[in-house]
């Protein structure tokens, strides 16, 4: 007993609309690709080591302001090449930002799923943690932890990773509860699937787009947070260098050699701007009512 056979054309799905990517978003994506490229190829691009000092060439201005091609972005007070340090800083800051965002996403999503799956007191505990995290300015919390535990890079990355987990937790909990209540998750559970399978194979892929958008919100905020802390001297410690770090050092020489802090500042602003633009566009594209 088969259905009425409808003409093939009527049954075929409508072609997907391919919207053109706006110019601004293209620029943002290009900048980000450029940044990632620089970070990956840092060792190859960098003409000098980050601690290589050239004491005869201290505080040299960049190209166009009296400097030469030997040090295209100038040098700092110890004769270290600003360009090389910038490249290395980009790698460090991006590494921290990616690492932290991924940690926050994984931790937050897991907590959200745990809360949605077990309900009861587990959920209440998670909600309380979320409220606690959301009610304190993270910078103050981070400063406290750094004061108590000192500073080492792995600890620092984990600390940054705690930023924004509550956003992911809220989202994944809400969406998992909605999926669990009725719908595909309940149906698959009814088929006899283990909870792990339900979450990994069904719930997670379906909420991935929303989580990605949330991650693009956290990413620039982590960059700003890390650079702020490094600027204060409490983040990435020397001899390692990061964007905020460089701005912090450059502050001393703001009158004599402003280029030291300007290049990392520009990179910070452009990077956070690009990710924000990309995130906004993704959010519009992946709007839940459309997918």
């Amino acid at each position: 007993m088969s259905e009425q056979a409808l003409p093939q054309a009527m049954v075929a799905a409508p072609p997907r609309q391919r919207a053109a990517i706006p110019f601004g978003v293209m620029l943002a994506i290009s900048w980000l690709v450029f940044m990632v490229g620089v970070a990956l190829l840092a060792d190859v691009i960098r003409p000098y080591g980050i601690t290589t000092m050239d004491l005869r060439a201290r505080l040299q201005p960049p190209i166009g302001f009296g400097g030469d091609w030997l040090h295209p972005l100038g040098t700092d007070e110890l004769g270290r090449d600003v360009f090389s340090r910038l490249v290395e800083s980009i790698r460090m800051s991006l590494l921290i930002a990616f690492g932290a965002t991924i940690i926050a996403a994984v931790f937050g999503t897991t907590m959200g799923f745990l809360a949605a799956h077990f309900r009861g007191w587990v959920e209440q505990a998670v909600l309380m943690l979320i409220d606690f995290q959301a009610s304190m300015p993270f910078l103050i919390l981070a400063l406290s932890v750094l004061a108590f535990f000192g500073n080492s890079l792995p600890l620092f990355i984990c600390l940054m990773g705690l930023y924004g987990w509550e956003r992911h937790a809220r989202i994944s909990r809400g969406l998992a509860i909605a999926a669990n209540a009725q719908g595909y998750a309940a149906a698959v559970r009814q088929l006899g699937a283990q909870p792990m399978r339900i979450y990994m194979k069904h719930v997670l892929p379906n909420i991935a787009s929303t989580l990605i958008v949330a991650a693009t919100l956290s990413f620039p905020e982590v960059v700003l947070l890390e650079s702020g802390l490094s600027f204060l001297g409490l983040g990435v410690q020397p001899p390692m260098t990061s964007l905020g770090n460089m701005v912090g050092y450059g502050r001393e020489y703001i009158t004599r050699a402003p280029w030291i802090l300007l290049s990392p500042s520009v990179v910070i602003v452009l990077t956070t701007l690009s990710v924000s633009i990309l995130g906004d566009w993704l959010r519009d594209r992946l709007d839940p009512t459309l997918t």
Partner: protein, 326 residues
Amino acid sequence: MSLLSLDGVSRVYATRRGLFGRPVPVRAVDHVSFSVAPGRTLGIVGESGCGKSTTGRVALGIERPSEGHVMFEGAPMPAPGTPGWRHMRARLQLVHQDPLGAMDRRLTVAAQVEEPLEIHGIGDKTERRDRVAALLRDVGLRADLAQRHPHELSGGQRQRAVLARALATDPALLVADEPVSALDVSIQAQVINMLTDLQEARGIAMLFISHDLKVVRQISHEVAVMYLGRVVEQGDPEAIFADPLHPYSRALVSAIPVPGPRRIERVVLTGDPPNPADRPSGCAFHPRCPVAVAACAQVVPELRHAADGRLVACHLVPEASLLKAA
């Protein structure tokens, strides 16, 4: 030997009025007993809120009964979420009202129909693929639809896909909770016919839950009418439809639109629809019953055998103590 049997099953929810009110127990299902024989269909009808969906869920083991027992294939139903319960899913399945919600919109129909086979480890890759193709044929879905996504199908096609998925592990019992309520009338008929054909071919027992009497009549070998969590009448469908004994069944049956002169006078119920949180005393139907007497407000009527073997829970229907049980 019955396949599924419920014995004195009740399901009570604890709810609260407002934030600081006393907890109020809500009896969604109240002392329901019935059994389903292999290869036969039991239809359950009633209004929204009468507890039929909850009964279906308890029968499947998705919820634990607060009182009573559920036995499936001679063994007690394991607690939900346990490995035993999960294994049993291969033997009984659920189809419910919203096929779009029941499917993952990211996966193809074929992948989803195959999923139960994956979960229960049935067959290898090629065997599973063949089985999926056979299932799709059985439910009347064209093979090229298998690679589509659920939102690209029509409502009727989706429901067939859900059905194919439910049948993948060759279950002994299928619980269908309003499976055709969201479909157009013409498609309803097709799907109902398909269900009866499948039942004949595979010998599947069915628990068919619906508020739509016409549909239930077509497909059931036995019908139970529920009101506020209790079964008020149970028996042969044709008998109940031709001559409903319980006043509530009378009202339901009389509301079915029929062409030509009516056989049964239209009974219009007065009063508010039932609220399980606020059960009337005695017979739950008495506030709306056109023929209620004083006893109805005081004593809860038990299910007793009536003249032709039916079970009826009404003080006004004489018990046939001389006839044997149907």
